[in-house]
């Protein structure tokens, strides 16, 4: 029972840690399916996190914060779009640039606005997204197993968490069951086929970028005003890259993406517990080793399990009408 509770708690923090990954990963899924590589996810997370925190701090409303977060992500997507869709520039470079831009501007503006070295003011409870207890959570708390699962694991997360988890089935449906999804997949594979069918490739790719922005913007918002209470420098801490890696394992599919992100979340959650524990044989493992574990595992998975992942054929290639 004790172990069971521990497990539930670990899973609980797994969920919390996985949320930004899931949102970023799905965001990446839309843009890459449409043929646009988005290394810039990291920067968008960061930018959104900053905007959300700043707005929430000023306006006092987390919802306005969310809007601001999404807004900034949209602007960054727009830049990415202009660079890679209209100007046919290199998408990877554009993404890298956006990451630098976010890293620099967030701190720079934060400093000149709040004079706290890029930190935004601490947010009070009502400026943040707080856990919401689902109906009956407390009542069933004591029902063995299921009760615990429900009240701890399912209930008691903030709204954005639920958004993230709902986004997965929605994405799966959009991608495989709708006209938009069909075209999205097509434009990532062979844009010319769409163009000759009289559908605007540019338009479609921009739509994809918008969805990307909304999702990743939400992810960033989660970081700064749901998971923690305020923004601080580089708080995205590589999550955008991890999300991309996750996307590759997941072979650009929604459900696998969810699983992979949860796996990463789990690894992260575990490492806090593993610290300081003396293992049999090996003795105490240096914390650095434990902290590098997720990355190392990512690589092993990349190399071993999935081997060559076939990306959408046209991803990374700007579409030019003149052949």
């Amino acid at each position: 029972m004790q172990y069971f509770n521990d497990l539930v708690l670990i899973l609980d923090s797994t969920v919390r840690l996985a949320v930004p990954l899931i949102l970023a990963c799905l965001a990446g899924l839309y843009s890459e399916r449409s043929g646009i590589v988005d290394i810039g996810l990291e920067g968008k997370l960061l930018g959104a996190a900053f905007a959300a925190a700043a707005m929430a701090a000023v306006s006092g409303s987390p919802w306005l914060g969310l809007l601001a977060g999404i807004g900034v992500a949209l602007c960054m997507s727009a830049i990415h779009g202009i660079a890679s869709i209209n100007l046919k520039g290199d998408q990877t470079i554009s993404g890298v640039a956006l990451n630098f831009l976010a890293a620099g501007l967030t701190t720079f503006l934060g400093q000149s606005w709040f004079h706290r070295g890029g930190f935004t003011p601490q947010l009070s409870a009502d400026q943040r997204f707080n856990p919401i207890t689902l109906p009956f959570a407390d009542q069933v708390k004591d029902v063995p197993v299921l009760g615990g699962l429900y009240s701890e694991l399912i209930s008691g997360h903030n709204i954005l968490t639920y958004v993230a988890f709902i986004a997965v089935p929605v994405t799966a449906f959009v991608l495989f069951k709708t006209r938009f999804g069909l075209r999205l997949r097509a434009v990532g594979e062979n844009p010319k086929a769409l163009d000759t069918a009289g559908i605007s490739v540019t338009g479609l790719r921009y739509k994809a970028l918008v969805i990307t922005a909304v999702l990743v913007g939400t992810g960033g918002t989660y970081l700064s005003i749901a998971q923690s209470a305020g923004f601080n420098n580089n708080m995205s801490a590589g999550r955008g890259y991890i999300a991309l890696a996750a996307l590759i394992f997941a072979k650009w599919k929604p459900w696998p993406a969810l699983l992979v992100c949860l796996l990463f979340g789990f690894l992260d959650a575990m490492q806090f517990r593993l610290q300081g524990i003396k293992f049999p044989v090996i003795g105490e493992v240096p914390v650095q080793a434990i902290q590098a574990l997720p990355y190392i595992l990512t690589i092993i998975l990349l190399a071993g399990f999935i081997g060559r992942a076939v990306a959408p054929k046209a991803s990374g290639i700007p579409y030019t009408k003149e052949r």
């Binding site: 708080m235 801490a237 902290q291």
Partner: protein
Amino acid sequence: YDGGGKFDKSFNEAAYNGAEMYKKETGGTYGEFEITNDAQREQALRQFASRGYSPIVTPGYNFVTALQAVAPEFPDLHFVILDAVVDLPNVRSVLFKEQEGSYLVGMLAAMKSESGTIGVIPAFNLDLLEAFACGYKQGAHAARPDIKVLETYIGSGFDAFNDPAKATEVAKSQLDQGADVLYQVAGGAGAGVLQAAADAGKWGIGVDSNQNYLHPGNVLTSMTKRVDVATYNAFMDEKNGKWTAGVLNLGLAEDGVGAAFDDNNKALITPEMTAAVDKARADIVAGTLKVHDFREDKACPV
């Protein structure tokens, strides 16, 4: 200021506050600079020196090498280094006995704890931070031998000072493991720890500056490390021509460290807690109670 950045919510910021305090009281001015990479330490020092700034306060032992190089070049200027010793005629080295302050907050934590489990959360495993943690543990065990102290690092490098999201997660995991008082030794990221503790209706302990105000009622106390005072004094002494070189070792006796009590946490502290802490402080000051310093032998008795 050091890599952590001027506004790291603790160490560097405290220095800054000290300087500001001086500015306000005396109307004197001062220059400042945040270094971005190691090569700039020496450079910045030299720039200040060549413009005749004095004293020049360098927070953090990372400046040792730079200072050793630059100080001799400007024998008639005064330098101050915090947290480290540079043995030069024109350098004042200011050390703090973090273990002593941590010892007191450790006691408070242990006495406050209802679950019998408390936690300490350093940014990453840095000797300096270990010193905090170690003092904390000693104090806790002294106050309550059966106490269980969890210790979890947030990250593995300086960027850990800037990841409150992760800090929150670490705090949550300690809370999940039953800890109900959390001592953060993580600069900027610490905010996340205090936040988590407050959200959970448990208690956090601030560090370096007095952070009790952050979540009144949920910050048990703060282990204050009066970098600001040290900085302030340096400036004042210079102004009043009372400058002295050599090593200052600031502990409880010198009020260089301590546990912060104010209106924000009055309600949390019971008389017997106060009593116990006062006694311990007295013993330490008197030297009858010796708090072990992790840095001496890289080990902690408890």
